[in-house]
């Protein structure tokens, strides 16, 4: 049989049910690259024999180490065990390394002859675009580029649905306004929609998600994790996120920030502002005396508090500003199949308000100062109307989403590969060659 070269998505489709390993999903952000890797645990002896050497070596390398090179890390505590997906059972691993090491990573891909493996490298995040050419020229690898927000939502919904090794993926803080009795509590994401999804990476994207496939990017801010780390590096000379957070945990931001009471002597009652509220971030630093008397820890803490509060403030405003999508709301209320001629009762704006704000992104990694502060800010400023929710796999959802796309990669995707006549031909060709008839595989072509 003559060899037929098929487009990447058809390639994946062909292997439906028996998709070739390795299974990766990658999210290349501005600061960090997030990688999820599925380690099959149900490999048969036959498979073991057939498994090519470099595939085996990749599996061993990734699963037997927890650190890669100087900067790569496997978040062992996040590993999802005994996951069954696409008919295979195994563990899902979560790995990250700085984006500056991207070229080394590509070189490694070349050295390990990644291109010889029958897989598609599904990648999302800006780096999927930025490094596409490098992957091609340096390692002979074609990336399947995926939209980062699509991936984020699909990944999040998937992880939430499978849970975290028997525990809920999601958590919130009980008594957010009481720092002493503020307790982390797991919860289930029932009645998820509509929600505001705040993804805090280097920058921040804020999405209003009405349902699984319906969302919009409401806004974003450039004051994000990158700003925290960038300013901390400049102000304290620290070099890593961990270092910066460590310092922040020991500092006192009130030495740096000017509080309402520093200006008014107490509360500003005319406007209901508490004396302890920050009136001016870094406001004390206008004075030379104060500049000379503060510690690096105080500066790190103030930076963290400033960035976090600001994100909270913008998120809250977005939540109250988003009118919510009527149709999605009816669905959320399970009002199905209403005849189109029947006039729907108008649901008042109040009911359509978003009540759940889900914070994700690597800025929140090991960052309880920020998560608690966000929980407090949402609760306080909305007078209890808004609830801040967090997820254990903070920054990995984009990578998970990309990974999921690998397993169903012929689906229509925004920003990714669009269906065209070529894919139709490919489908027909595949059908003729492989007699694919299973309804599940047809799902992959549901856009027809």
């Amino acid at each position: 049989m003559s060899k037929i070269t098929l487009p990447a998505y058809a390639n994946v489709y062909i292997s439906e049910g028996k998709k070739p390993f390795p299974w990766f999903g990658m999210d290349i952000g501005g600061t960090l690259v997030k990688l999820v890797y599925f380690e099959p645990k149900d490999i048969t002896a036959e498979e073991e024999q057939e498994e090519v050497e470099n595939l085996k070596s990749i599996r061993r390398y990734l699963t037997s180490n927890t650190a890669y090179g100087k900067t790569g890390v496997r978040d062992v505590h996040l590993e999802l065990r005994n996951l069954t997906i696409c008919g295979r059972t195994g563990n899902l691993h979560f790995i990250r390394f700085p984006t500056v090491a991207m070229h080394r990573f590509i070189q490694m891909g070349r050295d390990k002859h990644f291109s010889s493996l029958h897989t598609t490298l599904c990648a999302t995040g800006g780096g999927a675009y930025k490094f596409e050419n490098d992957f091609r020229t340096m390692a002979d690898l074609e990336l399947l580029k995926l939209d980062e927000l699509d991936c984020l939502i699909q990944g999040l919904l998937y992880i939430d649905s499978v849970g975290f090794n028997g525990h809920p993926e999601c958590y919130y803080f009980e008594n957010p306004s009481d720092t002493q009795n503020c307790i982390k509590r797991p919860c289930c994401l029932d009645n998820l929609f509509p929600m505001l999804l705040v993804n805090i990476g280097s920058g921040v994207s804020i999405l209003a998600v009405n349902e699984k496939d319906s969302y919009k990017r409401v806004t974003g801010t450039s004051l994000g994790g990158g700003t925290f780390l960038g300013l901390c590096c400049l102000l304290t000379g620290c070099e890593t996120f961990e270092e910066a957070l460590e310092m922040a945990s020991k500092g006192d931001s009130t030495n740096v920030d000017k509080l309402v009471k520093d200006i008014y002597g107490g509360d500003y009652q005319r406007f209901g502002l508490q004396g302890s509220a920050v009136a001016s971030s870094f406001g004390h630093m206008m004075s030379k005396e104060k500049r000379d008397s503060i510690s690096k820890e105080d500066l790190a803490r103030a930076t963290l508090v400033t960035i976090t509060n600001n994100i909270g403030s913008i998120a809250r405003m977005c939540a109250v500003n988003e009118p919510g999508d009527q149709a999605a709301l009816y669905r959320a209320f399970r009002v199905y199949r209403i005849p189109s001629e029947q006039k729907l009762p108008t649901i008042s704006r109040e009911y359509m308000k978003i009540e759940r704000v889900v914070f994700v992104g690597n800025f929140l990694r090991i960052n309880t100062v920020s998560t608690k502060l966000l929980a407090y800010a949402m609760d306080f400023w909305s007078k209890g109307q808004l609830k801040a929710l967090f997820l254990e796999h903070e920054g990995y959802f984009g990578a998970v989403g990309a990974f999921l796309e690998l397993l169903k990669s012929a689906k229509v995707r925004r920003g990714g590969v669009k269906p065209d006549s070529l894919s139709m031909q490919a489908f027909l060709l595949c059908q003729a060659m492989y007699h694919v008839t299973s309804p599940k595989s047809c799902l992959a072509f549901e856009y027809f």
Binding site: G30, Y129, G226, R270, S280, G415
Partner: protein, 735 residues
């Protein structure tokens, strides 16, 4: 005496000694009362109410009742002119650096004589700090007022009283400042005050406002964080650094992450994805300028974003920005404007205020002056006594920048009556009186500034001639010359200083300067002579008109109007053809039913009013149309003033039974009488202003263009005639 700053000026090298004598700064202190002070982080703003005694030209009719016929008054002037002292209310606002507080308080103490004032209203963060000093120096009790309340009160006041108070900033446009028309209803609006933190206030009515939000990332963050990052202490210097920096060296842009744009979301590659993002991933050194710029962008964008979110939530489109972060700094106005444009996709414009720095002081003053009901009156900016908006743009010459760093003044005069829009305007909100905005039109600006400079010698001569009996008039006139000359210089460099620059504002500025030096009406004697002369011919002219056929008479009346209007410039004839010629339409209209009531805005004294306007309105009166004559309340060139017009009307009424007097508040009259025709006469009223004004009734705008430059610009020759007859489209359907 010269004041000098007592405090340590640090590394700041600008010369801070005051070059103006302080009695030109703290003026009219003798009768000052109702003091208020707003002490901010670096600037102090002082406010007080005072009265100004100045001369006004009064006309008083001689008693002619004994004389039965006009002939008998031959040779006697109709009225006498006397110069009287008049007292008017004036508000003074002075802004200076905190370093001068002590010296200034001493000066005020020494000059405060006739005051019964016991308290001084105080606001601003520094009010507490300087409380003891103020009480000790001035022996006045310091009475603190809420900062935000003062700010809003002040904001309402300037928005209501000062034309062109608000402006849009456009860095790369021909004119950086695009002044906004004063909206008759200023509410509701959003005020974003960027001090050390940010307060977002929704203002719904004079006394109804609410702080709907805020942010801790504000001016203090820029200053504090900027000082830490760049080791630069002063706020102004940080802004200077920022204006020279490249934020792209420090910020992580969308293209740094994507390699280009993020197309599917419409995010361009140059968009900042993460402020300071590069400093987290690169080990290199960053320049002070670049970090300052990045910080400025970060803070401006953040404030802009929040402002937009609040504006959207509360459905507000008028968003004003103030606070020390903004205070006339082009750099911050630019970044805020950019941010607002970005986040609202151009739906909301960032508005700034010319007198932003004074809001707190004005508000505190108003709180203290509530029993005087200052809000009941209309107040006008006195161009002679106010410094005007100073750009602190680094591109401007250092002399101007230094001045803005020392003393700045705002003076406002109480107007005789409340100013309201003419009820006959089709759309008062979009009414722009001035035909050409000289702020935007550089060629026209050059020309008119040159014109006014050229005319200055003549005005000075006339001013002296109007007060021949006073030996020191020449000296005063010279002072006037210097003052006005200086104003023209300022306007040449900073045309935006007093809002939109127009021919009207140039004339107003001249009147204000003349008044300042007690030349209330340099033209009074000439007007008197001309009026007396013209009166002698009135009956003769009227009689000769009566002998003409109707058609002939109408044309002669119109020609008479135009001839009278041109006469004062010595033209023999008007140019043919007329530049704008709606004469035939007008005649057709006259063949129809009479107008109910005509409102006539008159122009010059003498021949124009007596032999041009009066015969014309006489014809209207005979037709059965009521006529309301409207004239200036105060003198301006040879325009007939209201008091002169009253005497003239009385006199003409005495000899011509067709004319009778009417005197009532104009706006009421217009409404009561059902005015359906407005006649606007003269270059100043019909060409420089109102040329494009749309009225809700029929209108006649007529003038002779007595300026070759303007005529050419409008596509005609000097002494071209404009005879514009307009019928609003709605009324047209009814005819």
């Amino acid at each position: 005496m010269a004041l000098s700053g007592g405090a340590d000026r640090g590394s700041h090298s600008m010369d801070k000694s005051i070059t103006l004598p302080p009695d030109e700064i703290f003026r009219n202190l003798e009768n000052a009362k109702r003091f208020a002070i707003d002490i901010g982080g670096s600037l102090t703003k002082l406010a007080y109410y005072s009265t100004v005694q100045h001369k006004v030209a009064k006309v008083r009719s001689f008693d002619h009742s004994a004389k039965v016929s006009l002939q008998e008054t031959d040779g006697d002037p109709l009225y006498e002119i006397s110069v009287q002292e008049e007292i008017t209310a004036r508000l003074h606002f002075i802004k200076f650096e905190n370093a001068y507080i002590e010296t200034c308080l001493d000066f005020i103490k020494d000059h405060l004589v006739n005051t019964e004032t016991k308290v001084i209203k105080a606001t601003g963060g520094g009010a507490y700090k300087f409380k003891d000093l103020i009480e000790k120096k001035l022996k006045l009790k310091v009475d603190k007022e809420d900062e935000m309340t003062c700010l809003i009160k002040g904001c309402n006041f300037v928005l209501k009283n000062i034309p062109h108070e608000a402006f849009v900033y456009a860095k790369h446009a021909d004119s950086e400042f695009r002044f906004q028309n004063t909206h008759p209803d200023i509410f509701p609006y959003l005020l974003i005050n960027i001090g050390s933190g940010v307060s977002i206030v929704k203002v719904e009515a004079e006394d109804k406002f609410e702080r709907i939000g805020g942010s801790s990332i504000g001016g203090g963050t820029f200053w504090g964080l900027g000082a830490l990052l760049t080791k630069t202490k002063r706020f102004d210097e940080l802004l200077q650094l920022a204006s020279k920096g490249q934020h792209t060296n420090v910020d992580m842009l969308v293209k740094d992450i994507y390699g280009g744009a993020y197309g599917s979301l419409g995010l361009t590659g140059d968009l900042i994805a993460s402020s300071f993002g590069k400093s987290a991933t690169t080990d290199k050194e960053f320049s002070k300028e670049d970090m300052a710029k990045s910080l400025l962008h970060m803070i401006s964008n953040d404030i802009g974003q929040l402002a937009c979110l609040y504006a959207k939530l509360h459905n507000l489109t008028r968003v004003y920005f103030g606070g020390f972060f903004i205070r006339g700094h082009p750099v911050t106005m630019h970044t805020i404007t950019y941010s607002i444009n970005f986040f609202t996709k151009g739906e909301v414009q960032a508005l700034f205020l010319r007198h932003e720095g004074y809001l707190g002081a004005i508000g505190a003053f108003l709180k203290g002056a509530e029993e005087d009901n200052p809000n009941q009156y209309s107040w006008g900016e006195n161009y002679a006594g106010s410094s005007g908006l100073m750009s602190v743009s680094p591109d401007l010459n250092p002399v101007q920048r230094a001045r803005s760093g020392t003393f700045d003044m705002l003076e406002m005069d109480r107007l005789e009556r409340q100013l309201v829009n003419l009820p006959l305007l089709q759309d008062p909100t979009s009414y722009i009186p001035d035909t050409v905005d000289l702020t935007e039109d550089a060629l026209a600006r050059e020309y008119w500034l040159y014109c006014f400079e050229e005319a200055l010698d003549g005005v000075v001569k006339r001013a002296i001639a109007s007060q021949k009996d006073q030996p020191e008039a020449a000296e005063r006139a010279e002072k006037f010359r210097q003052k006005y000359c200086h104003k023209l210089q300022t306007l040449r460099h900073q045309p935006f200083a007093y809002g939109s620059l127009t021919v009207r504002s140039l004339l107003d500025t001249r009147e204000h300067c003349l008044n300042e030096f007690n030349f209330p009406d340099p033209y009074s004697k000439i007007k008197q002579k001309e009026n007396d002369m013209a009166l002698k011919y009135y009956l003769k002219v009227v009689k000769s008109f009566e002998e003409l056929s109707w058609e002939q008479r109408q044309f002669t009346l119109v020609k008479g109007l135009l001839a009278g209007n041109v006469f004062d410039w010595g033209a023999k004839a008007v140019s043919e053809p007329w530049l704008v010629d709606a004469y035939n339409q007008w005649i057709e209209r006259l063949k129809g039913p009479p107008h109910k009531c005509a409102l006539f805005f008159v122009d010059n004294s003498g021949i124009d009013i007596i032999l041009g306007v009066f015969p014309f309105i006489r014809e209207l009166l005979i037709r059965g149309t009521e006529v309301v004559l409207a004239s200036n309340s105060g003198p301006a060139l040879n325009d007939v003033t209201n008091s002169e017009l009253q005497i003239l009307t009385e006199r003409i009424a005495a000899m011509d039974p067709v004319i009778h007097r009417l005197d009532k508040v104009l706006a009421t009259v217009v409404r009561e009488r059902g005015t359906d025709l407005v006649i606007i006469e003269g270059m100043g009223r019909a060409i420089h202003t109102n040329y494009y004004a749309m009225l809700s009734c029929e209108s006649l705008k007529l003038a002779v263009i007595k300026n070759s430059w303007l005529a050419e610009r409008l596509g005609g020759k000097i002494f071209s005639v404009v005879f514009k007859y307009e019928v609003p489209s709605k009324a047209q359907g009814q005819h």
